[in-house]
Structures are given as structure tokens and as C-alpha cells.
């Protein structure tokens, strides 16, 4: 029996990441609708703003955490053999870590200190 309330913590993380994702998407979509970038310099200028870079890094972190919880639930529900399920969960974790590094490279490439 878990006294650390891991299920509750996971449930909360899922909700919090969802709220952040929704807010980020809403702000970005509204911003883009009013300031549609017509050129590379406009687009990279908008993206290189420190607030945008940080918000985007957090956005992708939220997506990956949210995806981990969601896909993990699917694997638990449908993959019964423990070995296969464990293997797929490991692959999922590896995939999300690779994606995280990719985001890191993209963001760092734009940082101007």
C-alpha cells in the first residue's frame, strides 16, 4: 500500500501540466493571429525573446510529463505481459528524454545573453 499518495500526485501533475499547455497554446495562438510573422527575422525575433524561450521550454516539459502519464496509463491498461510493458515504458522514457534534449538544443541555439 502506498502511503506517499503517488496516484494523487500523478493525477495532480497531469492536471497542472494540462492547464499550462492550454494557457500557452491559447496565448501563442492569439498572439500569432494578431502578429503573423511574415519573415524569418520576425519569427525568430519573436521566438528569441527570453520570456518566449522560457515559456516554450516549460511548455514542452509540460507536454512530455503529460504525455508520460497518459501513454503510461494506456500501456498499463492494454499491455498485460509485464516484461513487454516494462520494455515499452522504458522505450517511452528514453523517447521523451531524447525529445527533451532536442528541445534544449533548439532553445539554447536561440539564447542571446
Amino acid at each position: 500500500m502506498s502511503f506517499r499518495a503517488l496516484g494523487l500526485r500523478t493525477w495532480l501533475i497531469q492536471r497542472l501540466s494540462a492547464v499550462y499547455i492550454a494557457l500557452y497554446m491559447a496565448v501563442i495562438l492569439l498572439w500569432l493571429l494578431s502578429h503573423l510573422p511574415a519573415s524569418y527575422s520576425q519569427w525568430s525575433g519573436m521566438f528569441s525573446h527570453p520570456v518566449m524561450l522560457i515559456a516554450t521550454a516549460i511548455f514542452y516539459s509540460a507536454v512530455f510529463v503529460h504525455a508520460w502519464v497518459g501513454i503510461r496509463d494506456i500501456l498499463i491498461d492494454y499491455i498485460n505481459p509485464t516484461g513487454i510493458r516494462f520494455g515499452l515504458l522504458t522505450l517511452l522514457a528514453l523517447f521523451l528524454m531524447v525529445m527533451s534534449m532536442w528541445v534544449l538544443f533548439i532553445v539554447i541555439g536561440l539564447v542571446k545573453l
Binding site: A18, S44, A67, I71, I74, M99, I106, G109
Partner: protein
């Protein structure tokens, strides 16, 4: 302990009648998987668009291709349904709409709204 007699399995998906709330729920799961599969492509396009003038133009070019525009329809639906069904779940968590009647209505609303939003966005993008 003796093994129990095997339970009857009834997994003919074409014969199972899922209530509307079940439809909203399973589509929430399906749309989530679709969005998950879009992650690498989204990062690729983001990186491409930020790599320079040529990359930016190339990324815009991809979005103008008919096959991409067609693939974006289920992706748009996935985001709409996943978001709307997710909000419905968040409200139910806060005890809003937990009666069967209201749950059915909100599920119906979410299912329809997701399709309408997708149609609207697809139509607007084609203009």
C-alpha cells in the same frame, strides 16, 4: 488455489454499444495518442523554421502541401477533442456535471464541438 473458469470475452468492437460518455472518453485517449505521435514532427518543423531564411521558407512550403493540409485535419481534431474532453474531465473533477443526464449532455457537446471547431479551423485555413 484452483484457476477460475475463463471469463467470457466479448470484444467485437462493432457490437459493443458505447454510451456517448464512453465515446468522448475513448476519443480523448485516441486523440492523445495522435498528438503524442506529432511530437517529433512538431519539433522538426520548429527547428527548421528557426534555422534561417531558407529553413523558414521550407517550413512554410511544407504547410502549403496538400498532403500536409489533409494530415493536419485529424491533428486539429485531436487537439480540439483532447482539449475539450479534458476540460470536461476537469469540470467533473470539481463536481460540475456529475449526474448522468448532465454528463451525457456535456459528452455530446464536447464530441460535436470538437468536430465543429475542426471544420471551422480547416475552413478558415483554406481561405
Amino acid at each position: 488455489m484452483k484457476k477460475r473458469a475463463r471469463r467470457p470475452k466479448f470484444l467485437n468492437l462493432f457490437k459493443i454499444h458505447l454510451p456517448v460518455t464512453g465515446v468522448a472518453s475513448i476519443l480523448h485517449r485516441l486523440s492523445g495518442v495522435i498528438l503524442f505521435l506529432c511530437i517529433p514532427a512538431s519539433l522538426f518543423l520548429l527547428q527548421l523554421s528557426l534555422s534561417g531564411d531558407a529553413g523558414f521558407q521550407q517550413a512554410l512550403h511544407y504547410f502549403s502541401l496538400p498532403v500536409v493540409k489533409i494530415l493536419l485535419i485529424p491533428v486539429t481534431w485531436s487537439f480540439s477533442h483532447h482539449l475539450l474532453a479534458g476540460v470536461r474531465f476537469l469540470l467533473i473533477d470539481q463536481n460540475l456535471g456529475v449526474t448522468l443526464a448532465s454528463a451525457r449532455k456535456s459528452a455530446w457537446l464536447v464530441n460535436m464541438l470538437a468536430v465543429l471547431v475542426t471544420a471551422f479551423i480547416t475552413g478558415a485555413s483554406l481561405l
